[in-house]
């Protein structure tokens, strides 16, 4: 199983950019139900800019690549998804270490913890954290148990989707959706949805490297 170098992580980022572009309208549609109808647009703008930044000056190592993605998200997106996804990639960049599967799992966890710290959301607040934390747990556990990375990332993606679905019936307690109170129940959280796409993109690319 390969190392998380610039090639491998670049493939992940590009796959994620492709996925948010493919699901742009769906993300915006979810956001228009309980937010301000710009999540698809913002994620598309940010990830497209991130890929353009990677093309313009290709980073030579994985940590530098993640940092480029982070800084692009932070400086191009605004709103909440820019700082949150930016923080995720930035903390991952700082924790990537040797890029082994165990280091990647630890870096992903560090990224998710960064999101929790930045957004101050807890499980069940109905945010991207509800997809990301279970994914980080599943990834850590599977890698720790000696599973191959493709199996571990599949488990992480499944855990993310399960986490997203588990909070759909709930009332949102963070972000703009929280102003809706009861009316936010039974809607898929758009941030949780874009987080699932992120982990799915990892499973589709990194697990195969």
């Amino acid at each position: 199983m390969g190392t998380m170098d610039a090639d491998a992580l670049g493939a992940w980022v590009r796959e994620y950019a492709r996925a948010v572009t493919e699901h742009r309208d769906e993300l915006t549609e979810l956001d228009s139900a309980i937010g301000d109808a710009d999540h698809g647009t913002n994620m598309h703008r940010g990830m497209t800019a991130a890929v353009a930044a990677l093309d313009a000056s290709p980073p030579t190592d994985g940590a530098a690549l993640l940092k480029t993605v982070a800084m692009t998200m932070i400086s191009k997106v605004g709103g909440t998804s820019g700082p949150l996804y930016g923080t995720l990639f930035l903390r991952m960049s700082g924790a990537l270490d040797d890029g082994s599967p165990a280091a990647f799992a630890a870096a992903f966890r560090a990224g998710v913890e960064g999101v929790v710290a930045r957004g101050k959301a807890e499980l069940q607040d109905k945010t991207m954290v509800d997809a990301l934390l279970p994914a980080a747990d599943a990834l850590t556990e599977a890698v720790g148990a000696g599973q191959e990375l493709d199996v571990a990332l599949r488990a992480a993606a499944d855990a993310a989707a399960k986490g997203r679905d588990s909070v759909t019936p709930l009332v949102a307690r963070k972000g703009r959706a929280s102003y809706l109170g009861e009316r936010s129940a039974d809607h898929v959280d758009p941030g949780a949805e874009s987080a699932v796409l992120l982990v799915e993109a990892a499973a589709a690319t990194l697990g195969r490297s």
Partner: protein
């Protein structure tokens, strides 16, 4: 969608070009989308920086000038600006006395300003203090939400803290004025119509003819309830009731009463509302010390208004009366 624009994607940049042309006393950094006081940084003075999504004009760029803000960052319509902009604004107004960030309580604004403050601290060591405004009583149960939204009080914080900074007071004191104003102010808004974000091209929410949204947010966030359109007299009561029951405004030196238009309501109607506000307050035993009536914190072309009450004392009244020279507020100069 009918709007006086060129291209929806260029609205913010085009408007900033217009501001630059109309107000040569301001300096506009078009790369970072920051409106600066022409004479920033002002030696010895605490710098005041605010900013937020565009679409609320004159907030914030229209409040840049003597006695108010030193810089304002303009985000995309209804989207928080990014940290790079706030860093540029902060560094551009820092005259060594520190910088106050005035941030409306929306998740995106708070996060981006937080990141900017961290970046500034790491890069230059400029002292930054942030004050978050959260005066919207329409948000109930704020333990389980993102908290009360920052609305009308933000305008008053910018004026009053701006006057304190202009007097040469230190950062801690200017921040204390800002916090006190936020703590002593409450607001509630309503909408008669939705607004249309240029890039979306269609109304943000659907409000049937004959109905109004009570407690609406300045981005069209849903309010407390939807009720049949009522006369201004009843609207004033419906907006003031939750404000008055949230904080005791009686006694002391009275209040500053602020009737704010949402963008699509004529001043004529705002004065109709103000007359009713004055009457409701008189009946409630609340003395009005100062007033402000006009469209100062808008929501694009939304029709409707918000009412803000601020408990004032001698000091705040003096700060309110102090000279101000900005595109949108101007007196005493």
């Amino acid at each position: 969608m009918k709007k006086l624009i060129n291209d929806p994607a260029d609205v913010v940049d085009d408007a900033l070009r217009g501001m630059a042309a109309a107000h040569p006393e301001l300096r506009i950094d078009s790369e970072h989308r920051v409106v600066f006081r022409g004479d920033a940084p002002v030696a010895g003075k605490v710098g005041l920086v605010s900013g937020g999504g565009s679409g609320h004009e004159p907030l914030h760029g229209g409040f840049v000038g003597l006695g108010m803000l030193d810089a304002a960052c303009a985000g995309e319509v209804f989207t928080s600006p990014v940290p790079d902009q706030m860093v540029a604004a902060t560094q551009g107004v820092d005259a060594g006395a520190g910088v106050l960030h005035i941030v409306k309580n929306y998740t995106g604004d708070v996060m981006n300003f937080e990141m900017a403050a961290e970046l500034v601290a790491a890069e230059s060591g400029t002292e930054v203090v942030s004050v978050v405004t959260d005066d919207d009583v329409a948000v109930q149960d704020s333990l389980y939400t993102a908290g009360r939204r920052g609305v009308g009080v933000t305008v008053l914080v910018e004026k009053l803290a701006g006057a304190a900074a202009e007097q040469g007071r230190p950062l801690a004191e200017v921040a204390e004025v800002a916090r006190r104003v936020n703590a002593q102010g409450r607001s509630m808004g309503m909408a008669l119509t939705s607004c249309t974000v240029p890039s979306a091209g269609k109304p943000t929410f659907n409000l049937p003819a004959g109905e109004m949204e009570l407690g609406v947010g300045i981005h069209g966030e849903p309010g407390r309830r939807r009720v049949p359109v009522a006369p201004a007299r009843e609207v004033a009561e419906m907006l003031l009731e939750p404000v008055l029951s949230d904080l005791d405004f009686t006694g002391g030196d009275g209040v500053l009463a602020f009737v704010n238009g949402m963008g699509g309501t004529p001043l004529l109607e705002l004065y109709v509302v103000y007359a009713e506000v004055q009457a409701v307050l008189a009946k409630a035993g609340v003395t009005v010390a100062r007033s402000l009536v006009g469209s100062y914190m808008t929501s694009l072309e939304m029709a409707g208004c918000s009412i803000t009450l601020l408990k004032v004392d001698d000091e705040l009244i003096r700060l309110w009366d102090a000279p101000v020279r900005t595109p949108a507020l101007r007196w005493g100069v």
